[in-house]
């Protein structure tokens, strides 16, 4: 049975880099919003993981950005937008294992080069746009399933 989402819910979170102890707060909050409106656990897990990776990338590479979500009767959409340095070669960045994360980030267990692949894997539709010197936008759509 499909979750009965009778209207559209929208919201956003500001992500600020630097303080990694706060990483995951936006994803955690989004997770509880999704559970509250009755989205199934499997879908919530996919959204939470994809959003957490997007949140981390903003914190690591862009220092600041915004995460917007839309929950509609058919799908959940998360858009992560930042005004960071942008990505020069998106195809390369999408490759599993490619990472430019600095050592201090790697020491904390990030920088495996699996963030963008994880976002793609957990989304039904994944789009990324980036302009060097302007910023990066990642758009992820997860369809609500008939279970």
């Amino acid at each position: 049975m499909k979750a009965k989402i009778d209207r559209t819910y929208e919201g956003s979170f500001h992500i600020v880099g630097g303080d990694f102890s706060r990483a995951g707060e936006a994803s955690t909050e989004l997770k509880s919003i999704l559970l509250n409106v009755g989205i199934d656990e499997d879908t919530v897990r996919r959204v939470a993981i994809a959003t957490f990776e997007a949140e981390m990338n903003i914190m690591i590479y862009a220092t600041a950005g915004i995460l917007r979500y839309t929950i509609s009767p058919d799908e959940i959409r998360v858009v992560a937008e930042d005004m960071g340095p942008g990505i020069e070669d998106i195809e390369l960045a999408m490759q599993e294992g490619y990472s430019t994360a600095p050592d201090w980030v790697r020491e904390m267990g990030w920088g495996a080069g699996m963030g963008l692949p994880n976002m793609k894997k957990n989304s039904d539709v994944f789009r990324i746009e980036s302009v060097v010197g302007e910023g990066t936008t990642v758009e992820m759509t997860i369809r609500l399933k008939d279970c």
Partner: protein, 116 residues
Amino acid sequence: MKLKDIAEILSLKPLTPAGGLEREVSGGYVGDLLSDVMANAGEGNIWITLQTHVNIVAVAVFKNLSAVVIVNGRMPDADTIDKAVSENIPLLLTGKSAFETAGKLYQILNAKGLQD
């Protein structure tokens, strides 16, 4: 198998309330790369790692893991323990290596699987 029984056999030291040890363990996953754990760990798994930073709790919550076991006698940051308590994620310590811990856990769960 219950986390409590596994913790006893492996002499794991819990840093979080005993109530959390009642949960069922489905298997295990070893890794120090958070994105890898998010991609490949299974629901209900015990996660064996040397990472101690607070972000491990968020990973455990999102993946619905049964526990995080920190190896090599490493001590997690204070805010990691606080977060684990508030998010209800069991956090346990061992002086043993990831290799030894995973080996023993695999043995226990396998033996249990054969019995059931």
